[in-house]
Symmetry: C2
Subunit: 209 residues, 2 copies
């Protein structure tokens, strides 16, 4: 790791078809300073899903306890199940100096930014709406109806992209991954993140003059 001090918290969102998943995998494969946040959910595990790897599995009651205890960075209910980000895991990784990435959606991103304004919000997009459509179509796994729904969703999400800190165009996986990495690493050097260093310099300069 090239940094000491507390890790950076980053939320990465993007249109379905933005290539977000691939970029995240590459980022984590190429650098050892990142930790991906693991969500908690009240839905039942599916075959092959592992506790603490895929999700932290909770009962509905346990999840509601976490909400009451303010133990989640953000949460939402989706098709009758809760999904959320446990604070514990995220903060302990950050304290170890790891840069934690949350791959979550718009509403969760906004919840976190409100509570923790230092959080870096990055949105990924293909270079054009046509390219987005072509990628979804090209997968060959989704019906025209599902694709139409995703494009509709994108046209709603785009209204809130300005509330993110960064918009990164995924025209090429390597370039996009490098850009996301540079953005997160640069955040280590904001004067907000370097507040302790500034205090150290103040104290030292007072002592030396």
């Amino acid at each position: 790791m090239s940094h000491t001090g507390r890790g950076i918290l980053t939320v990465v969102s993007g249109f379905a078809g933005s290539g977000k998943g691939t970029v995240m995998k590459k980022l984590i494969a190429e650098h050892d300073n990142y930790a991906l946040s693991i969500s908690a959910t009240s839905r039942a595990p599916r075959p092959g899903e592992e506790e603490g790897v895929s999700y932290f599995f909770k009962t509905r009651e346990q999840f509601e306890e976490m909400i009451k205890a303010d133990a989640l960075l953000e949460y939402a209910e989706y098709v009758g199940n809760y999904y959320g980000t446990p604070k514990d895991f995220v903060f302990s990784k950050m304290d170890e100096g790891r840069d934690v990435i949350l791959e979550i959606e718009l509403q969760g991103a906004m919840q976190i930014k409100k509570k923790y304004p230092d959080t870096l919000l990055i949105f990924l997009t293909p270079p054009s709406a046509q390219e987005l459509y072509d990628r979804l179509k090209g997968r060959g796994t989704e019906t025209d109806e599902v694709i139409a729904k995703r494009m509709k969703r994108a046209s709603e999400e785009v209204q809130s992209v300005k509330d993110y800190d960064y918009l990164v165009i995924n025209d090429n996986i390597d370039d996009c991954t490098a850009r996301v990495h540079d953005i997160i690493q640069s955040a280590h050097h904001t004067t907000g993140h370097e507040a302790a260093m500034i205090e150290k310099l103040k104290t030292e300069l007072e002592a030396i003059i």
Copy 2:
């Protein structure tokens, strides 16, 4: 150049002894996307100084005309002479897509940030006050009195470092230069800088759904 669109305006300041000059030289030698701003001054040219390279040389009257015409990004009077940054040069380079760097002091940095909040303010520092002292002493060209004056100045400047966007520690010229480069290049991807791209995506998505 790896970007299209308007260039980024960056102010780089730092303690005397921070290695700022060396970092700037390296940055410009290694990348072709940067342009260094050239200051205007009302002081007389010294032997070897070239018009439009070292400075834009102006008479006192000409300089005061520029102040009146709001043709300067910032200016100050120092030992009876004016020094300032002409807008024309900076904005035309930015319009060409070049990232313009201003190597100026704290007061000028604050003047610019007030008028142009998108300006990136970067402050360079050695890793410690002791290291700053050792570098100034190690030059062997300055009297103890001058060194004491510079350390005093640093202890005043450090009070305003929090008003910069980034603090970059110059512990190693190569690392420091790479960090400054990554910070400036990342600024190309802020949602503010990508406002036109966001509008393009909105329009395209409206048309496609």
